[in-house]
């Protein structure tokens, strides 16, 4: 192992225990010294980092995460149980009559995708919120074609939107997407087209700040997210009608 390779591995992990690395370390006094120095540094870093301790009582708080549910279950005896059974029947009948019962629910992968979408939007919001310049229709289509594999048809309604940001994005691993941003009435609206496995059903994106939808959309997914209370239906229709996959 030459010096450069040794140095790379020593800095990346001075506690590596492979026979090859240890033999290389013993090849010269200089290497032994470097390794000792890096190992000493690691000990100091670990000691400093580990000097942080959790506040007293945190473990108890964490363990009490679902105690209310448990105590309610434990107290469900006698009359309360009858009430609970009756309530369950009412709930079951209500659910059976509800159209939502027949709608597929988002899968675990869909929910993970939902979280990834929000992380991405938060990551980008500082960039696009400040943006004020209109992006040309040609530029938007260049980004859409390059990043997502599609484009907007020549559509007057699309051209009327004030699109101020267009860029590639990598929300989902191993897939590319295009993120365009337009001005809405409450703030910026993100429209993201990702070429990946479509989600199992249309479902809401929601957290304390943003709201929107993830929609299975041909070769991938269409995501529309705006500030809470932003009316997004009109945008959804315009975008869905105008976008065309080319891959």
């Amino acid at each position: 192992m030459d010096d450069l390779e040794f140095k790379k591995r020593a800095y990346a992990n001075p506690n590596e225990q492979s026979a090859e690395f240890l033999a290389a370390a013993n090849a010269s006094e200089e290497r032994i010294q470097l390794l000792k120095q890096l190992q000493a540094l690691d000990k100091r870093v670990a000691a400093a980092a580990n000097s942080i301790t959790a506040p007293e009582g945190l473990a108890a708080k964490l363990k009490a995460v679902d105690s209310n549910v448990v105590s309610i279950k434990a107290n469900n005896t006698g009359f309360k149980r009858y009430i609970a059974i009756a309530a369950s029947f009412v709930l079951a009948i209500g659910l059976a009559l509800s159209p939502s019962l027949f709608s597929p629910r988002p899968s675990a992968a869909d929910l993970q995708f939902h979280d990834d979408v929000l992380v991405h939007v938060y990551k980008e919001v500082a960039r696009f919120d400040l943006s004020r310049e209109d992006v040309s229709f040609t530029q938007i289509n260049t980004v859409l074609e390059r990043e997502a594999g599609g484009h907007f048809r020549d559509n007057e309604r699309i051209k009327q939107l004030h699109i101020k940001f267009a860029n590639g994005c990598n929300i989902a691993s191993n897939s590319r997407g295009a993120h365009i941003v337009l001005d809405g009435s409450k703030g910026s609206i993100s429209v993201i087209v990702v070429h990946n496995s479509p989600v199992s059903t249309t479902f809401d994106v929601k957290d304390s700040r943003f709201a929107g939808k993830i929609i299975p959309f041909g070769e991938g997914n269409l995501i529309i997210v705006g500030e809470k209370d932003e009316p997004l239906e009109a945008y959804e229709t315009v975008i869905a009608e105008a976008f065309e996959w080319t891959i």
């Binding site: 890096l38 540094l41 000097s51 945190l58 675990a108 990551k123």
Partner: protein, 183 residues
């Protein structure tokens, strides 16, 4: 820790409590270094364990619990705080003063280390702490951070290079540190 699938609530609860006991200090520590504030770290850890409780059944092997919790924690941090919390207090001096080392020299050294670790760019600080504090391998760090292994190795290399320069300034300058070594 058990690797038995969970069938009832009490078994689930027992399993969860064991995970809390074993790992809450590590998770808190990581949260603290991630957001650099005690109160936020505590909130973050509570959110993390709440999510972990709800989806405990998806954890197949308790040996993977630490990496799983760290991944949840990073995601929660990004979702809740990373981009839009006000940039409040940095690593608090109070914590260092309250630490186990009462000797002034040790406290100074620790303060210097805290400052040095904190001054590392997050891209370098995270993999270093995962390796040194979390005890994760390069491959595991790559999975937690969603990076490839070579990028992790490069970041570890650079993180140590920067810290070494702070603590051993008399050492010969290392001309290889600025070059991308793995990517």
């Amino acid at each position: 820790m058990s690797e038995t699938p969970v069938f009832d609530d009490s078994a689930k609860r027992q399993r969860y409590q064991l995970i809390v006991d074993t790992l809450y200090q590590d998770v808190y520590r990581y949260a603290y270094w991630l957001c650099k504030n005690g109160a936020l770290a505590e909130d973050l850890v509570q959110e993390t364990f709440l999510r972990a409780w709800r989806s405990l059944d998806s954890l197949q092997n308790d040996k993977a619990a630490k990496a799983w919790l760290f991944t949840i924690l990073r995601r929660e941090n990004a979702r809740l705080y990373e981009r839009y919390r006000p940039d409040i207090v940095d690593i608090e001096d109070q914590t260092i003063a309250d630490s186990f080392d009462n000797e002034p020299d040790q406290r100074m050294d620790r303060k210097l280390l805290h400052d040095a670790i904190e001054s590392l760019d997050k891209d370098y600080r995270e993999p270093l702490l995962l390796q040194v504090v979390g005890g994760f391998s390069g491959k595991e760090i790559a999975e937690i951070l969603d990076l490839n292994n070579n990028t992790v190795m490069t970041r570890l290399f650079r993180a140590r290079g920067k810290l070494k320069h702070v603590f051993f300034p008399d050492g010969e300058p290392d001309e290889t540190l600025d070059e991308p070594q793995y990517e």
